[in-house]
């Protein structure tokens, strides 16, 4: 049933709401504005101290420097190396957790092995333990299997920490698929993997998109796990950024720092902008059902 749209009447309450929303938006956008204009100014102009002023002479030099010349300690190669490290970490740390989470959720929803609920409860409990508690034991464990300070090591760590959320996401999604569909496939002779690959996965794109968004932003924004587990050769962009900004030799290059920060947050920002609708849906799916 479609209701006729009410005529819009600007009441005093509505005006208040808009005034509040507008000021909140300005408040949160102000830092971004400052970052962008600062990154486009030369250091001489920055020293004038006019924080909100539009740059008198636009320059892209700080961006170039931030990408490929900024120094961290002895190496001077900008955040570009970190960018590619982050890509190397994020791609497998997104694909693997989604695959494993999907299989977990599928098994828990449809095959219901003995003790499935207990297992799931345990997994959820894991989601509430702070990461910091597990860092030291994990370092020891990874060192024991010689994966500490390596790309596979950091991917494995991301896989472990994402497992509760990924499993929950897929389990709740599959719980919404009628059990009769699964039963029909069983009668048609489908086994565990065939039903998963030929029936469930083709039905999963909505939740796979949500999971991808959550994993990409989560892994990209991660700092502490990358710092501890990735090793010197695979430090992610976030860690690289911190090193660039905290280099204490010489003058503080605010324009370069701003550019490097924006570059680092570009990937999650793009993901949010491209998929805000899906992201909200995913959060709701994880929170409400189950």
């Amino acid at each position: 049933m479609r209701r006729a749209s009410k005529r819009w009447r600007p009441g005093i309450a509505r005006l208040g709401i808009y005034a509040f929303l507008l000021s909140a938006a300005l408040f949160f956008l102000a830092p971004l504005y400052i970052m962008i204009v600062t990154s486009l100014k030369s250091m001489d102009e920055i020293r004038l101290g006019q924080l909100f002023a539009w740059p008198m002479a636009l320059t892209l030099q700080p961006w170039r420097a931030a990408w490929s010349e900024a120094c961290t300690g002895v190496a001077c190669e900008g955040v570009s190396a970190g960018f590619w490290n982050s890509v190397l970490i994020t791609v497998p740390s997104t694909v693997l957790p989604i695959l494993v989470g999907a299989v977990n959720g599928y098994a828990l929803s449809f095959w219901r092995p003995r003790g499935a609920n207990a297992l799931f409860g345990l997994l959820m409990l894991g989601a509430f333990i702070p990461v910091q508690v597990m860092i030291y034991p994990l370092v020891k464990m990874l060192a024991a299997i010689s994966l500490y300070s390596s790309l596979p090591g950091i991917v494995l760590v991301h896989l472990i920490f994402s497992m509760p959320v990924m499993t929950l996401l897929f389990r709740n999604y599959y719980a919404g698929i009628p059990a009769e569909l699964f039963k029909a496939a069983r009668i048609d002779g489908g086994g565990f993997w065939r039903i998963f690959v030929q029936l469930m996965l083709p039905m999963s794109p909505p939740i796979i998109i949500v999971a991808t968004i959550m994993q990409v932003t989560g892994v990209w924004n991660d700092y502490i796990l990358g710092l501890v587990f990735a090793g010197r050769d695979h430090l992610p962009m976030t860690v690289q950024l911190n090193n660039v900004i905290n280099t204490t030799t010489g003058e503080r290059l605010y324009n370069l720092n701003m550019a490097a920060t924006i570059l680092t947050s570009l990937v999650p920002l793009l993901v949010y902008f491209a998929s805000g609708r899906w992201f909200v849906r995913g959060i709701a799916a994880g929170a409400v059902k189950g």
Partner: protein, 357 residues
């Protein structure tokens, strides 16, 4: 040889026993309907035959082989579900051929089977569509087609028409009956709809609380219900029940006394009647005949016109009785009418055990 034999079947979910010691033999080629209210265990029984539910004890034989522990796909069954359960990402053709493809049936053979099933169910123009592009009736036809393509000896139906509207339901019901006549396959059909049960079944199995109440041909179950539950479950409007007592004096025929005095000369007792025994007399509304000069009288409380007949609710001797009237009589609430009861169509139940006498 029976197509499906269930012996001493026990099914429990956790500590809750749903079915205990159930025995049932389904004949080759028959249309067996499992009928009962929701929660009576009929679906559970069907799903255990399909192998979708683990049994706690007993034995299930299909086509003479023990299938108690077999995988659903190995049992030689096809199944149709209430929610259609079509694979939403596959076309109608892929839906129907999924089973044989999994089983590795040669392509030409699969094409032949799909073609045949599509022809029988008028699905040919729909073969390349996705389930979402079909109406409810078409979806259920596809689901039936998918079961047929398996070329199984036994077809299982789990309330397949319950999601359809009344007109479509009647239409598909007739199609199913025709299909059964053409194929001659054994069919086991679960429903809570007595019309479906009466019209489709070779035999009806009435269940309640996980226990079989009666097994018999539709006419037999309707005419000679084994107990009060079966009597009350079948028929709309339901059977009239009147508590009464038996009088069997030596040398005189057995009589029903209080509130209706009735000579039971024509009644076939299953057990010898006892004088003074408390009974429940059951009489179907169509066997209450309004007739001037009838032996009993009642006051009409309500008349429900049904088009080709009317249902008359009347109060008689402190009881409410329904009567089915096919004649075009003008009847009004408040009117006093006379009627007869057809003794030969009467059912008597023991008031305590509720079993047929």
């Amino acid at each position: 040889m029976s197509a499906v034999t269930v012996s001493d079947l026990d099914i429990s979910f956790g500590s809750h026993a749903v079915i205990q010691g159930l025995n049932l033999a389904v004949q080759e080629g028959e249309f067996l309907v499992l009928l009962g209210p929701s929660g009576c265990g009929k679906s559970t029984l069907l799903h255990s035959i399909a192998g979708l539910i683990e049994v706690s004890g007993g034995r299930i034989e299909i086509g003479g082989a023990d299938m108690t522990e077999a995988e659903p796909s190995e049992r030689g069954i096809g199944m149709v579900f209430q929610s259609y359960a079509l694979y939403p990402t596959m076309t109608v053709e892929r839906n129907m051929s999924f089973g044989p493809r999994v089983a590795g049936v040669p392509k030409a053979e699969i094409a032949r089977r799909v073609q045949r099933a599509a022809q029988m169910l008028q699905l040919e123009p729909l073969l390349q569509r996705k389930p979402a592009q079909l109406s409810g009736g078409q979806r259920q036809r596809v689901a039936i087609g998918r079961a047929l393509v398996r070329e199984a000896a036994v077809l299982l139906f789990d309330e397949p028409l319950s999601n359809l509207d009344a007109k479509l339901r009647a239409e598909l019901r007739r199609e199913l009956k025709l299909l059964h006549q053409q194929l001659g396959a054994t069919m086991i059909y679960v429903t809570h709809d007595q019309v479906e049960a009466m019209t489709l079944a070779s035999r009806i199995v009435v269940m309640k609380g996980g226990v079989i109440q009666q097994v018999g041909a539709p006419g037999e179950v309707y005419e000679r219900p084994a107990n009060l539950f079966v009597a009350g479950f079948l028929g709309a409007p339901g059977m009239n029940f009147v508590p009464a007592r038996l009088s069997c004096k030596p040398g005189a025929p057995v009589r029903l006394v209080q509130p209706f005095e009735l000579d039971l000369g024509g009644y076939e007792f299953l057990a010898a009647p006892v004088h003074g025994q408390a009974v429940v007399a059951g009489i179907r509304p169509e066997h209450v005949q309004l007739r001037a000069g009838g032996a009993f009288s009642g006051r009409i409380e309500l008349v429900e016109p049904m088009g080709n007949h009317q249902v008359v609710w009347m109060a008689s001797a402190g009881h409410s009785l329904a009567a089915l009237v096919h004649e075009a009589l003008v009847l009004r609430a408040g009117q006093v009418v006379e009627f007869d009861l057809d003794v030969s169509r009467l059912s008597l139940f023991d008031a305590d055990s509720e079993q047929r006498l």
